[in-house]
């Protein structure tokens, strides 16, 4: 981030002061009452009593600690009630619409909140409320299309502003050296996946959920393989085809605008990076069946996905506003893809902290481009995405989310390397 530009914290606070109609809001909510103060303390308690100060609409401040790291600014009484009722969902709603704002570093605040919540046993009532109100949307063939449209068709130029400029990867990068740039780390990720799969020139690869097609082009260009890549996002497929044409890779890479469940043919390699999060749990056995039938007996497959240490729903606000239908599975849940289809799990690597670092790079670029993005959309959009990126960093640094790469093979494949050393050729990453 350039030093002249406002930091995330600054931009959040600065904008606070720009919000003029505060006096109007204050008049409507009236002076702070004993009940408002009680609710504020309740919020702090629900968050595990972090060193946070709640500042209400008339300037009243509530804190349970002597020194505070962050100030949570609540603009009206209704916002206060909404936070108590369902903090997980409403914090996002209120933050995006600027009725709740934060003074201090957003990521650190969210990390403290995640740690506080995971340390607190939620009340049965609270759990019940969350369960009945929040269910990921179903991923039928049509449902998937709508869910994916929601997220990926908001415009390629938006993503180009803050993703890497090398392969436009909207998935976890790989930082074998933590000082790498995001471009280097995305390239390192693609090599890492290619090596795990032991790609050889002339092999055929099928990809499920190919995003803007970066992996397919990279594999074709650097490993001489033929890739058939499926995606249901129209905008992404158009973009991917144009890029392949530009790079002279059209004879090696084919982009198919269709659902992974419609994959046909047999291949040496199956790969799916960052799609499983969007595949509902109900579809796991079907996905496994697709992998099984599309792999030759000595083939290899790799599934790269956000996951969890134990089952749980995606943050309800992110699921509703950012990623409809998203569900990060635990490894136990993920096994429903492989076990019914007798696919053998050869290797699982958890690169959780690599996603935190990836998101830090994205958030920095996002912050640098906030003015442009505000011009493309509006301020609520900017605040929502800032919260989503910062919240995701916190989720990965606190262990709320994991990132699994799972290497698999049909059960009778005995052409296996004797060591994983082949994944780590000396001095090959920058």
């Amino acid at each position: 981030m350039a030093e002249s530009q406002p930091s995330l914290g600054e931009s959040a606070i600065n904008r606070e002061h720009q919000v003029a109609p505060r006096e109007l809001v204050e008049r409507r909510s009236g002076p702070v009452t004993a009940m408002d103060r009680w609710l504020s303390r309740k919020i702090l308690e629900m968050a595990g009593d972090p060193p946070i100060n709640v500042r209400l609409w008339d300037g009243n401040e509530i804190s349970t600690h002597e020194t505070v790291l962050h100030r949570l600014v609540v603009a009206d009484r209704q916002a206060l009630w909404q936070l108590v009722y369902d903090p997980e969902f409403n914090f996002g709603e209120l933050y995006a619409t600027n009725r709740v704002s934060l003074e201090g570093d957003l990521v650190t605040f969210l990390e403290a909140a995640y740690q506080g919540i995971s340390g607190t046993d939620k009340s049965p009532l609270h759990k019940f409320i969350q369960v009945v109100q929040h269910r990921p949307r179903l991923n039928t063939l049509r449902g998937s299309r709508e869910n994916i449209h929601h997220h990926y068709n908001i415009g390629n130029p938006f993503y180009e502003l803050w993703l890497d400029r090398e392969a436009m990867q909207y998935t976890c990068a790989y930082f074998p050296e933590p000082s790498m740039t995001i471009e280097q780390a995305q390239v390192a990720k693609l090599h890492h996946v290619a090596r795990k799969l032991q790609l050889k020139p002339g092999q055929t690869v099928v990809e499920a959920g190919c995003g803007w097609g970066g992996l397919a082009r990279f594999f074709a260009k650097h490993y001489g393989v033929k890739v058939k890549a499926y995606n249901i996002s129209h905008q992404q497929v158009i973009f991917a085809r144009e890029k392949a044409e530009e790079q002279g890779l059209s004879d090696l890479v084919e982009y198919v605008e269709d659902d992974y469940r419609n994959i046909v043919g047999t291949y040496d390699v199956f790969v799916s990076v960052g799609m499983l999060e969007h595949v509902g749990r109900q579809q796991y056995t079907v996905l496994g069946d697709v992998i099984k039938r599309s792999l030759r007996p000595n083939g290899f497959g790799l599934v790269h996905s956000i996951g969890r240490n134990r089952p749980g729903l995606m943050n309800s606000w992110i699921e509703k506003r950012i990623f409809p239908g998203a569900y990060p599975p635990s490894l136990k849940e993920m096994m429903d893809i492989f076990e019914p289809n007798n696919l053998s799990v050869l290797d699982v690597e958890n690169i959780r902290l690599h996603y935190a670092k990836t998101l830090e790079h994205w958030l920095m670029r996002f912050a640098e481009n906030e003015d442009t993005i505000r011009g493309m959309f509006d301020d609520n959009f900017v605040r929502a995405w800032r919260l989503y990126l910062a919240g995701s960093i916190a989720a990965f640094t606190t262990g709320e989310l994991q990132l699994f790469q799972v290497l698999i093979s049909p059960d009778m494949n005995n052409e296996l390397p004797w060591s994983r050393e082949y994944m780590y050729p000396q001095g090959q990453h920058p």
Copy 2:
């Protein structure tokens, strides 16, 4: 067990299946009938119709192929019926007592049988019979002691005849170079586990299920760590303590004759190699709780175990005669250790073919020492163990069994390496 006590073969198998002289059996069974021929074809069909010839007690031969690789010799009519009734269990019983024998390579025959069976859908009746008759024995604290006594207390001198002479490891070795000797591969396994756990001098390690204590002594000697190792086999603990004394490692290694559930204290590292197979599924959450409470927040744990691609029982004959209470879990089942305890899975490596190779080395040494072993026990014991070792090779080469090493950590540990390259130092294995 003192040598004067009855051996496994004598105590269990002999009593139930007294071997009558062959001529007597042939006279008793009488000439082969149309029903005997039908049963023989049924057996071949149940095994997936392999190129095998069945030779019955009067010299009659039944085959469904023109060229055959193996000849299965059945000594009496009762044996034939027993094979049809429950081939999985009775093949072992009959082979051990020489009422069924084999001409041709035992491993190749068993591989063909495994492949045939996994390709055949068992009849509902057959499945029902197997389910009602076979349940692994329960692993209560007392049950575990009895189960382990059954297998490990049959005498250290027996195992010394065919296990590696370096660290006396009765678990899967690691062959980064397939030409390694069993001694080199067991040492490579111990280094591989130590590296995964990032052992540092002065650290404390707790081991659950330490066998003859080889891992504990190796870690202490080569990595300068302090190891507390638990085992409920009295004979193994006595042996382990003597070796530690001999090698001057008594101040670094402590062997505790107790159950893993009674582990106390907090350690930098938890390790368990080859115990989980003996831990009943009902105990997985308890095992995870033991791991959780014995690890410091930035500690690492490793569980090394036989597993499966999907849930299934251990071969019923092996479970009854060789490993009472044994159950190799699928990864999904294994997650019941980690997920309820919020332990984070960092890395899973499947080294299935390494166990086939380990067993090949063991079977070779076992075969070289058959006369000695027959003198220590009896011929039934030799045949039972030969079948167990050969059958295990077949189970690993056909993918019926897997070998998982799972590296874990408490959920909030952020002191994680950025790459697994540290597990593969160049040129460190012979």
